[in-house]
């Protein structure tokens, strides 16, 4: 057995075609599920696998499915919006193995009794859209989608929906609004938990692309086999998207907890280390919404709870490395700018706060900040995420709000001196 699950076929020529997929055992899991298993049995395997959602929140997939309200109409929506900065794993799956995604989606639709399934793919993935649409067309032709699939009596349609460029549509309720043809405004939970009131008001399961891509393997090999990989709540493998100041950035599928941050960064087959003579200054794990961790945490294993205990999160599985030649103020400012550009604009604290904080951070980076600006920024942050704790409290509808302070607060906490140098020397001391 290869040690890879979702990327097992990446690298095979034409891996995205149905011919190649079928050649490598494609759609066998779907057959197995539809013809040999009841929906409950499929659900039971996924529950047994312990798989945590790969979209960012890290919720157990099996448990999520079991919470779906059993209304006659139910939907499955696959979240392929992948816009969290430095997260670049789903597009890899979508471009290289779209059939695996389609198969996982169909099995899931069967398991949860969905009456219609949608794959919402980030609009900028032009190639991905072509690959997935082709895969859907091929799957229809193959009899894997549509009426009475493989003679099982199960019917389902699968629709590919393109996004159109809005980070917030990765948030599941905003995604649902977007799929309904509206502005991507996150809904308020409660009462709008998708599993109860989702797409068109019907119960809906939203799962990430990587989550779905694991499902065929789980059906083929059993939940236990999946759970045997990893440790604790962190079962199976994960795609870690490594970027920033490393020599070999890329998406690496690793058994969870099997490696530490240090190993991921320095292993010559993985990150390949830093540029000559440089050291790690900080790591942003789990997307830019996550608080930063310092070099003292490099020996943490890459596991859900391990990172959480260190006061951050594994989130979307992306890891950005800052070395000692990079400016923390500049990085934190740029992240704030991102949130400001991507705030949906509903909540006053997020809409206005992000812009204000961005302006202050920019001022500091450009050398016209003052010492009192640091308190001002922290206070404004506190008005978005009261207490500046982790996990955060929030004054906003969705967690984009309290994500804004994460980087700013991390940077000020970890690199206050650097801020002071910017202020005293009236400019950024780093060369870009």
């Amino acid at each position: 057995m290869s040690d890879k699950i979702v990327t097992a076929r990446v690298g095979i020529p034409n891996s995205y075609t149905i011919a190649s997929y079928l050649e490598h055992g494609g759609y066998q899991s779907l057959r197995k599920a539809l013809l040999e298993m009841t929906p409950e049995e499929v659900q039971a395997e996924v529950t047994a696998s312990g798989m945590l959602g790969r979209g960012g929140a890290g919720f157990e997939t099996g448990r999520k499915w079991s919470m779906l309200k059993q209304d006659p109409i139910r939907y499955l929506v696959v979240n392929g919006d992948e816009s969290e900065p430095s997260t670049f794993k789903d597009h890899l799956l979508v471009e290289n193995d779209p059939h695996q995604l389609v198969e996982g989606t169909l099995i899931t639709a069967y398991a949860i009794g969905a009456t219609r399934a949608f794959i919402y793919l980030r609009g900028e993935f032009a190639l991905g859209l072509e690959r997935v649409q082709t895969a859907i067309n091929e799957a229809y032709a193959h009899g894997a989608i549509g009426r009475n699939i493989f003679g099982s009596g199960f019917s389902i349609d699968l629709v590919l929906q393109p996004g159109a460029g809005a980070y917030i549509c990765g948030e599941e309720t905003a995604l649902i609004e977007s799929l309904e043809g509206k502005r991507g405004y996150p809904r308020i939970k409660p009462p709008y938990f998708p599993a109860v009131i989702g797409l068109y008001g019907a119960p809906t399961i939203v799962n990430n692309v990587e989550t779905m891509s694991n499902v065929p393997w789980i059906v083929a090999n059993g939940g236990k086999a999946f759970a045997a990989l990893g440790k604790g709540r962190s079962t199976g493998t994960r795609l870690f998207a490594l970027s920033g100041d490393v020599l070999r950035p890329g998406s690496y599928e690793l058994e969870m907890t099997s490696k530490t941050f240090r190993e991921l960064i320095y292993d010559p087959d993985l990150g390949g280390g830093l540029k000559e003579g440089r050291t790690v200054k900080a790591v942003i794990p789990g997307g830019v919404s996550a608080p930063w961790i310092g070099p003292d945490n490099l020996d943490l294993p890459l596991g859900q709870d391990e990172v959480a205990q260190a006061g951050s999160m594994l989130g979307s599985g992306s890891i950005i490395v800052l070395d000692d030649h990079s400016c923390a103020v500049r990085a934190a400012w740029r992240i704030t700018k991102f949130f400001n550009r991507e705030s949906c604009g509903q909540c006053t604290p997020c809409r206005e706060g992000s812009g204000w904080i961005e302006k202050i951070m920019h001022r500091i980076e450009m050398g016209s900040g003052t010492e009192s600006d640091l308190d001002l920024v922290l206070d404004a942050c506190d008005n978005i995420a009261p207490g500046l704790t982790w996990p955060p409290q929030q004054t906003t509808i969705c967690v984009l709000g309290p994500s804004i302070p994460s980087s700013v607060v991390s940077a000020i906490k970890m690199f206050r001196d650097e801020f002071m140098i910017h202020i005293k020397e009236e400019g950024c001391p780093f060369v870009h």
């Binding site: 308020i188 604009g345 604290p349 206005e352 992000s354 506190d382 008005n383 009261p386 004054t395």
Partner: protein
């Protein structure tokens, strides 16, 4: 809003205090009722909540201890623990205010909203002092006109989503929207598609800042210069509750009051901005006497003397039946009563009518069991056979729209023309008039020929005697004679005796006119001439000796030279009577026409004597809305010149005739009405104006309806303009309440309510003979639009820009058959050869083979597309 003792009361704790709340009620409202005001911007009690502004955050205990939650979005649950005053809550709210002010311009001194702005108020009450924001604010082009009536200043917008929500959810006109994202979000309209909603003014009222302002109010006044009084809009028969505001004896603004039973705080633009007409320079302010082709000013004394001599002359020359009274719809109940008493009780003629061919006979209306608006919006099912209520009674349309969309009731619409109700209808059935009789009989029967319709009613559980059904009854097409509608209603009511009728005629006080006897054969209290009560006998010197004529018969009589004197009291038949040609020639033949009016209208120009009347807001009184709810109208400004109230004029004529109507104030008139009319038993001015004012009182009055109700509280954020004028001089405070007037001690009238006031029994249905459709002629649909031309609109500078021009609307199918295109000019030729030219507009909402023409949008002498002798009117179209 009232002290509602509902079944599911639960207890929650707010700031350590135990309070009672209705299960499922929103925390923000439950707290407010208990006297704890939680600040807010986006929340509005009549809009679905969005929880966007985050101003209403409070601490609520949950599994993870106390966390900040939006109180506007949280239904209360038993045992809920809430903290609204803590450092954490305070900081969060200060934070939101500070964030809002980052980009909000500090132009309060030049902003229309200054002084009544919740953002300003809350900043003063809760807000941070010095701004810590030193960067440049966001800039947008300063106010842009998004319609003839509304300006938008995007810099001031705080993105509360109220206007956009209102336009989309309540009005159904999603013409203003959020564009852009994040802090670039702006409210705006689509290019070249203005915010031309009939309800646009509501967005101005509910905008919590000065982002939306109304062009008729711009820079007119500041809230501290204003004073205000409660009243009811008199633009249509809905009677929406309003606050009338003025400054220096000039009306400046009407604002909607939230009445649960009636308008939910909304107004239509025609009502809201109609105050401009009252301020108009075109008002008649002195009595005018015809001298040849001109009017000359005269005095009240000589005018009244002249009237007396003409009336006496007419009576002497023949009998009282040579005198007629045509009353208009703007009159108060007291005005109507005074004029009816003058005509019937003093002069002795029964020639009194108030239906200008666009209504229904008083006898029919009075005989139908009346439904309330609340009954209509919660009925198991509603049958609509009515004019387009969006055009005629716009706020009723909002109520129906909300009811249907939220599934409270289901609607079936019948008729032949298109209407705004179509989109709300479960079934829209094109039922010709030849099928109406059968339909009335088989509406809910199981083997009905109209299976599609009947099945809706049976699915909804309407019983075989009509229980659960409300009929919206109006004039679906003014080119079909009212007798058809009347026969249908009577037939239907006989077949389904438990069905109730909401008469959806537009004329403002048509219900008061019917209830007070402003129709032939009727006396006050919906009783027939032949059944006059003893009480009436005591107050009236005489009664007409014979049943009189309605407007149509009066006009026909006039053509025969049978009328010597006609009083037009607030009515303009040349513009408003459906057969304008008949009105025109009839008035020419009347010996002496007296017009009591506020403007020189088309009909006034045919008058021999014009008496200047006080207009709305220049007089007090009561009015009755379409469901029979009586409200007060209150005087806010003094009338110009020597204008007098209509009832005073009637009293003075009586005096001049040597009689005495016997009252000298509105309150005395109302007392007399309550004495003589069982329908109005229990009403008095004191009671009406002191209790339950916002909701009015439904007649007939039942014992319990008169119990004291505390004055409705006022949410200053929902009704900022009203609250701030009320609170003038008070330091802005956290409480949302405006204390009501003192409660009235004694309200129970003496005695027990009389019974048998529900109506006067149904007549026999009389189905008229249909007219024959001549070959080459098309069906005519003669319809009203909100902005059809009229004196009211003409004299309102801003509304007058919205007047719809006459267009001849046909479907593309008809156009093809006639080889016509949009923009072509055609002549419409009526059956007796009158004709006029119109531009063609193609609209597939119009049925095939039908020509739709808007009433009031043209005035061509010799042309009247509707002839009163026809049951159905047909016209011919020829290329001009």
């Amino acid at each position: 809003m009232s002290t509602d003792v509902s079944q599911n009361l639960i207890t929650i704790s707010v700031d350590g205090k135990e309070i009672q709340a209705k299960s499922g009620e929103l925390l923000i409202e439950a707290a407010e009722k208990a006297g704890i005001f939680i600040p807010r911007f986006c929340f509005h009690n009549r809009l679905p909540q969005v929880g966007m502004c985050r101003m209403c955050l409070v601490e609520v205990k949950g599994p993870r201890g106390f966390t900040l939650q939006p109180s506007c979005y949280l239904p209360v649950t038993e045992g809920m623990e809430v903290i609204t005053e803590s450092e954490k809550v305070q900081k969060a709210q200060d934070g939101v205010l500070e964030f809002l002010l980052i980009n909000h311009p500090l132009d309060c001194p030049t902003c229309d909203k200054g002084g009544e702005c919740p953002l300003q108020d809350q900043t003063l009450t809760y807000g941070p002092g010095e701004s810590r924001f030193i960067e440049e604010k966001r800039h947008w082009e300063k106010p842009i006109a998004i319609s003839e009536l509304v300006y938008l200043d995007r810099e001031r917008c705080i993105q509360c989503d109220r206007c956009t929500r209102f336009a989309d959810v309540v009005a159904g006109d999603a013409l203003i929207e959020f564009f852009g994202r994040g802090d670039h979000t702006e409210v705006n309209v689509f290019p070249e598609r203005p915010f031309s909603s009939y309800f646009s003014g509501n967005t101005v009222q509910i905008c919590p800042v000065g982002a939306l302002t109304a062009s008729p109010y711009r820079f007119k006044a500041r809230p501290w210069d204003l004073s205000q009084i409660e009243s009811s809009c008199n633009t249509c028969s809905m009677g929406c509750r309003i606050m009338v505001q003025s400054s220096q004896n000039e009306l400046t603004r009407y604002l909607g009051l939230d009445s649960d039973a009636v308008n939910h705080g909304w107004l239509c633009d025609k009502g809201r901005f109609g105050f401009e007409a009252i301020n108009s320079d075109e008002r008649v302010t002195v009595p005018l006497l015809r001298k040849g082709d001109e009017f000359v000013e005269t005095t009240w004394a000589s005018a009244l003397a002249l009237i007396a001599s003409k009336v006496s002359g007419a009576k002497a020359g023949g009998d009282a039946n040579r005198i007629g009274f045509i009353l208009g719809s703007r009159l108060t109940n007291e005005d109507i009563y005074a004029w009816v008493k003058l005509a019937k009780g003093v002069i002795g003629t029964d020639n009194v009518d108030s239906q200008l061919g666009d209504g229904l006979r008083g006898e029919v209306i009075a005989g139908l069991p009346r439904a309330t608006i609340s009954e209509a919006v919660t009925a198991k099912a509603v049958l609509a056979f009515t004019g387009d209520i969006k055009e005629e009674i716009p706020v009723l349309f909002l109520r129906m729209r909300e009811a249907v969309r939220s599934g409270k009731t289901k609607l079936v619409t019948i008729g032949t023309r298109s209407s705004s109700l179509d989109e709300l209808s479960e079934v829209k059935a094109n039922v010709g008039i030849d099928q109406l009789q059968l339909l009335a009989r088989e509406l809910v029967s199981s083997n009905s020929k109209f299976a599609e319709i009947a099945s809706v009613f049976s699915r909804q559980g309407v019983s075989s005697d009509g229980e659960g059904l409300v009929v919206l009854l109006g004039r679906e097409n003014l080119a079909v004679d009212q007798s058809v509608v009347e026969a249908f209603a009577v037939e239907l009511s006989r077949a389904l005796p438990k069905a109730r009728f909401l008469v959806t005629l537009r004329a403002t006080n048509f219900a008061g006119s019917v209830d007070l006897g402003a129709a032939p054969r009727l006396l006050p209290g919906r009783s027939l001439l032949e059944n006059a009560s003893a009480a009436l006998g005591q107050k009236w010197t005489r009664l007409p000796s014979q049943v009189g004529r309605g407007v149509k018969e009066m006009f026909k009589g006039a053509l025969q030279g049978e009328l010597d004197v006609v009083f037009l009291v607030g009515s303009d038949p040349r513009a408003d009577y459906v057969d304008s040609e008949l009105a025109d020639s009839a008035l020419d033949r009347v010996g002496f026409v007296v017009s009591v009016d506020t403007y020189l209208s088309g009909s006034t120009l045919k008058a021999d004597l014009v008496l200047p009347a006080a207009a709305f807001a220049e007089k007090s009184g009561t009015t009755t809305n379409l469901e029979g709810r009586v409200f007060t109208l209150n005087q806010k400004v003094t009338p110009p010149g020597v204008c007098r109230t209509d009832w005073t004029i009637a009293s003075e004529i009586a005096l001049e005739l040597g009689d005495d109507l016997g009252f000298s104030s509105v309150s005395e008139i109302l007392d007399e009405i309550a004495d003589v009319s069982p329908l109005h038993w229990g009403l008095s001015w004191a009671r009406l104006s002191k209790m339950a004012t916002v909701e009015g009182v439904l007649v007939p009055v039942s014992g319990t309806a008169l119990s004291i109700r505390p004055r409705a509280m006022l949410d200053q954020v929902s009704t900022p303009g009203i609250a701030s004028v009320w609170n003038q001089g008070l330091a802005s405070s956290k409480t949302a309440y405006v204390e009501g007037e003192e409660e009235v001690g004694e309200v129970s009238p003496v005695g027990t309510p009389p019974n048998a006031v529900s109506g006067m029994g149904l007549m026999e249905p009389i189905w008229p003979l249909p007219s024959i459709q001549p070959t080459g002629y098309l069906n005519l649909a003669y319809v009203q639009k909100l902005y059809s031309r009229g004196e009211h609109l003409k004299n309102s500078p801003h509304l007058s820009r919205l007047i719809v021009e006459a267009k001849c609307r046909i479907s593309s199918h008809t156009a093809k058959q006639l080889d016509l295109e949009s923009g072509d000019m055609v002549r419409i030729i009526d059956k007796v050869g009158g004709e006029a030219s119109f531009e063609v507009e193609i609209d597939d909402a119009v049925s095939r083979g039908t020509v739709e023409l808007t009433r009031g949008s043209f005035a061509v002498s010799g042309f009247s597309p509707v002839r009163t002798d026809e049951t159905v009117n047909y016209v011919k179209l020829e290329r001009a």
